[in-house]
């Protein structure tokens, strides 16, 4: 009798342990699902417009909007994934880049202005690419102006105009970058990169395949 009750007690004890571990895992899955749902409930406040920097197909039914910071290492890590996606599927979706320079990245804001200055000469995406690809070269510089001017030269900008636009602190370029940042903050963006697909925030995909799968679910 004693032996039976001790076995029963032991089984119950271990069942309790397994149930607690199971509950922890179940709780984490539920919390993550809630987090995904919460993110999907966050919608873009400002729809994509001609004022945005858009690449890919502007008439495609799928639009990805990225709030990004040129000095953020994670944004830099996503850059090749997005480039590949644009190269492979660019005719079937549009990609929009919006500035969200984080205050802890001292050269994020100047790099945003450098891309806007290049954009004024029709080469936003060229500057966007070269700045991401050389992030480690300029991220810690006290003043990245010289390097950004070199990039401007590499992509074939008028250096005189680029320098004037880049240094114009009161101009429209600053207003545009600041407006994008404020809009992102009002939308509820907490970090970079943050992606929206057809206006709804998504969990950052872990790989190129995961990113593509999200778009395929939307009919890509």
């Amino acid at each position: 009798m004693n032996s039976t009750s001790s076995i029963t007690k032991r089984i119950l004890t271990w069942a309790g342990f397994i149930i607690v571990i199971g509950l922890i895992i179940w709780g984490l899955v539920v919390a993550e699902n809630k987090n995904i749902a919460k993110k999907a409930a966050v919608v873009l406040r400002t729809p994509v417009s001609s004022a945005d920097w858009i690449t890919g197909s502007t008439t495609a039914p799928i639009a990805i909007v990225e709030y990004s910071d040129f000095q953020c290492p994670a944004c830099e890590a996503y850059h090749p994934l997005l480039k590949r996606l644009i190269a492979e599927e660019g005719t079937r979706f549009s990609f929009v880049y919006r500035h969200f320079p984080l205050p802890q990245h001292k050269n994020a804001y100047p790099s945003a202005i450098a891309t806007e200055a290049a954009g004024k000469q029709g080469k936003f995406w060229e500057m966007h690419d070269i700045i991401f690809e050389h992030q480690r070269d300029w991220q810690d510089l006290e003043d990245p102006t010289v390097l950004f001017t070199e990039y401007a030269k590499t992509i074939g900008l008028s250096l005189e105009q680029f320098s004037a636009d880049f240094k114009d602190t009161s101009g429209v370029l600053h207003a545009k970058a600041e407006a994008s940042l404020k809009e992102g903050q009002k939308t509820g963006i907490q970090g970079t990169p943050t992606f929206f697909v057809n206006g709804k925030m998504i969990d950052n995909p872990r790989s190129y395949e995961a990113l593509k799968a999200i778009l395929e679910n939307k009919g890509l």
Binding site: R10, F17, E32, N35, A74, G191, A213
Partner: protein
């Protein structure tokens, strides 16, 4: 075999209950942290990162060993430690406690490697990985302290 038998018979005498509870609670924290990262991995998501750059670390080539995410191996490690400690609480046998105490060396060594990778190779920090590093270090330090302090032969009065 002889050494294994000898090892399993080591008796960690009079290890305070609070020490084993500290080990158990720390292992549970490590398990929750690693299980969370594992779930994020299989749900193809990146957890929110307040400090550091989780994306860079969790999508790096070092985040998985073959088909297995490192977080899953971490979760299994912490689960094993919890299970062994629970077995000790349940049975009062010494071998599960011994295995748990010595296994902390594996977790500690693995975490040293992952911290090195984060600081010097990936050059980015993942806060969740650092939590796991702290739990592995705490487990190791407490376990080594327990082994050093309580695994010596008992005095006759202690045995009696």
């Amino acid at each position: 075999m002889k050494h294994l038998k000898r090892f399993l018979k080591i008796r960690v005498y009079k290890i305070p209950h609070r020490t084993t509870v500290v080990l158990f609670v720390t292992a549970i924290i490590g398990f929750v942290d690693s299980a969370y990262l594992t779930i994020e991995h299989y749900m193809n998501a990146i957890p929110p990162c307040g400090v550091g750059d989780c994306e860079l670390v969790l999508t790096s080539a070092y985040a998985a060993i073959g088909p297995f995410p490192v977080a899953l191996l971490g979760a299994l490690y912490y689960f094993a430690i919890c299970g062994l400690l629970f077995a000790y609480f349940d049975t009062k046998h010494h071998w599960p406690l011994n295995v748990a105490l010595f296994a902390t060396v594996i977790g500690f060594a693995a975490e040293l490697w992952f911290v090195f990778l984060q600081f010097f190779v990936i050059q980015a920090i993942c806060q969740y990985c650092m939590i796991s590093a702290v739990t592995a270090i705490v487990l190791f330090v407490v376990a080594m302290h327990a082994l050093a302090k309580y695994s010596s032969s008992p005095t006759i009065s202690e045995v009696l």
